[in-house]
Amino acid sequence: MDTVMLSRLQFATATMFHFLFVPLTLGLSIMIAIMETKYARTGDKMYLSMAKFWGKIFLINFGLGIVTGITLEFQFGTNWSRYSAFVGDIFGSLLAIEASAAFFLESTLIGVWIFGWRKLSPKAHAAVMWLIAGASTLSAVWIIIANSWMQHPVGYVLRNGRAELSDFSAVIFQKFAILQFLHTVSGAYIVSSFFVMGVSAYHLLKKQSIEFFTKSFRIALLFGLLFSVFTALEGDMHGVHVTEVQPAKLAAMEAHWETATRAPLTLFAIPDEKNEKNIIEIGSIPGLLSFLGYHDINAEVKGLKAFPKDERPPVLISLFSFRTMVGLGTLFILLTVIGWFKRNKLVESPLYLKMMLYSIPLPYIAIEAGWVLAEVGRQPWIVYGIMKTSDAVSPIASSQVLVSLIAFILVYGLLGIAGFYLIIKNAKKNPAL
């Protein structure tokens, strides 16, 4: 394998592993902040032990998120040096702003939160968690703005052989970034709420600490229901925008080969990229693709054949990741709606609880699939339309990258085992009241 492919695999390994921890951090921090605030207001010790129970899991998860995030920033320089030199003017600044305006606050305060129980009043301690939650969200804002610029570059001029910033506010307020941020963060809240519901379900099934876990479950259920619905509606808007600015991605994720008006949506297909057709197509709904892309059943949707062969994203991966994301997203709405009706008789609904316990991994799969679609669907471009991934890689020997890729897989594999072992161990503990 060449340096490009190895570097892509390495970045994919590192980001996807990192993103196993980010979503739970984003959502759980808010839920813990709510619990602590309730404790500070009411003095009810139940909320304190809730914050401590979920806090322990939060910290293990947070720690893994932080250490795996560091490698990402540096990999742009180590593996994608031509990209870095080309876009540093814009992309680099966004990462630097993230570090100085958000990540600093988050990392400094996490120490204060862990060790500050005896040094701060309950109110101040709750405020620290609110700030951590706010700073993590702000981190996400800047990272998503940076990624959105790769998806849809704006506010730049090509000068001195690189992309230079010409309009800062165009970069940070662009529609793509806003839509992608809302989609990612609401997806992260689904991950967190399913996590809390699943762990609570485990304990409710064992009939232990029933009041504690019923309360936890309900806080998470409200989150889960709101954001499952929101993510789907918002995802539709995001899809329309992607259709407009990244038509090749839309065509790939739908395995849509021929440009057509009243384009059909195929529920399931297996593409044959070589012969530019689908081997199997199941469930074609006329006009639906036009409707989803343009909110108009007669709209013309560009097919893959409208793009040169070397400017098409991998069809199979785009197609499957999109279907995985959307299919699971629909299931989340269903599960949380059922939960809403069962919220007052959770203990009497063992089947539902069991379903929720085993659903913990599903939002993780959905959110990773979403990222696969976003990133693989952008190929062959690293910056859509202006720089190809193959031109972005560092002038380094592939053997170096092979060694580091193997190291990533080994180290992250072991960390993953140790980390999830600790998370599961703590999640199974009956909380101290």
Binding site: I70, G77, T78, A85, G88, G92, S93, S107, T108, F115
Partner: protein, 342 residues
């Protein structure tokens, strides 16, 4: 001074502050197997930096991010040239961070042993490798006309590079020993104190050797000779090193630690001042060197980033100072009884 010049020194300052803050975390990790003879002492050592190490490490992220934002070409050439060394540093930092977080979560010997090794290795490697890296930057790297590195990882392990690595290692051990002297009591405190006394003369000798070696291996002194007032940086650094010894003798550990902080900042700036305006001198041909002027971002980006830094870095310093203040005082055995301790 122009924008590029301001950014050059800001860049140096961010790295220096990273070494000053995370430096004592590294030092404690290096001293860890030598001073931490039982589990209690080990835990006190980790908990002495427990609330702070996370925030300290972000100075690295910010230094890296600012390199990317203000000097994209430097970021691109430096990090791809130093690929293997940087990867080693990153893995070491991952292991160290996870070790702090995980070690006390399970109370078995084999579990804790794994993380003890990680803490030591995760501290020694970055301390030495950052030293090796910066010494090689001071000396110049074989960078060709197209900004491609024509050397290998082992090429970095030359005499001057190794001297830099040892100097950083000893400097951080000293810094860490002083932090432990400040934060501990009883037997461990005695051990930390005697470690700092033993390290001090070695540090002094290494510093002198490094300053002398720099004369032969680098062009750093050119800037000093053309502008002798700059020698004040070296004088100040040496004075701070002497002051540290004086404060240790008087058991004024906070002042001693502040002095060693000044030593670290002064040492980094010894190189930064000497480099200016180079950021990555080419040892093949000075014309291929990466400088603050040929590597910088556009004026617009430099201006926006300057505003960002002027707003946020003082804020960061303020709330980090508050965190340091909040967790002042000794770490005791009683502190370890709490659930949240490392």
């Amino acid at each position: 001074m122009d924008l590029q010049g301001i950014w050059f020194f800001l860049w140096g300052l961010l790295w220096a502050v990273f070494f000053m803050t995370d430096g004592f975390d590294f030092g404690i990790g290096v001293l860890y197997p030598f001073l931490g003879k039982n589990d209690t002492d080990k835990r006190i050592m980790i908990n002495s930096v427990g609330p702070l190490w996370n925030g300290n490490e972000v100075w690295l992220i910010t230094a890296g991010g600012v390199t990317f934002a203000a000097f994209p070409l430097l970021y691109s050439v430096m990090f791809s040239s130093l690929y293997s060394g940087l990867m080693l540093i990153l893995f070491a930092l991952i292991l160290r961070g996870v070790a702090f977080e995980f070690r006390s979560k399970i109370d078995t010997k084999s579990w804790r042993n794994v993380w003890d090794i990680s803490i030591f290795a995760g501290s020694v490697l970055p301390a030495v490798l950052f030293g090796v890296t910066f010494a090689n930057i001071f000396k110049g790297l074989p960078i060709n006309k197209s900004g491609i590195y024509e050397g290998s990882f082992f090429g970095l392990l030359n005499l001057y590079g190794i001297l830099g690595g040892l100097l950083f290692l000893i400097l951080f051990m000293f810094h860490g020993a002083l932090w432990l002297s400040l934060k501990t009591e009883g037997d461990l405190n005695q051990k930390a104190l005697s470690a700092s006394l033993k390290i001090w003369p070695i540090l002094l000798i290494s510093a002198v050797i490094f300053l002398a070696a720099s004369w032969f291996y680098t062009k750093l002194y050119d800037n000093y000779i053309s502008n002798p007032v700059l020698f004040l940086d070296i004088l100040l650094t040496v004075a701070a090193l002497l002051a540290a010894r004086y404060f240790i003798k008087n058991k004024e550990f906070l002042k001693a630690w502040i002095s060693s902080s000044v030593v670290i900042i002064g040492s980094v700036f010894f190189g930064i001042i000497g480099l200016y305006p180079n950021m990555l001198p080419s040892s093949i041909n000075p014309e291929f060197s990466i400088t603050a002027y040929n590597a910088s971002s556009s004026h617009l980006t430099l201006k926006i980033m300057l505003v960002v830094v002027i707003i946020f870095i003082p804020a960061v310093i303020a709330y980090q100072a508050w965190a340091y203040y909040l967790f002042r005082g000794k770490v005791t055995k009683e502190d370890l009884a709490y659930d949240e301790s490392y």
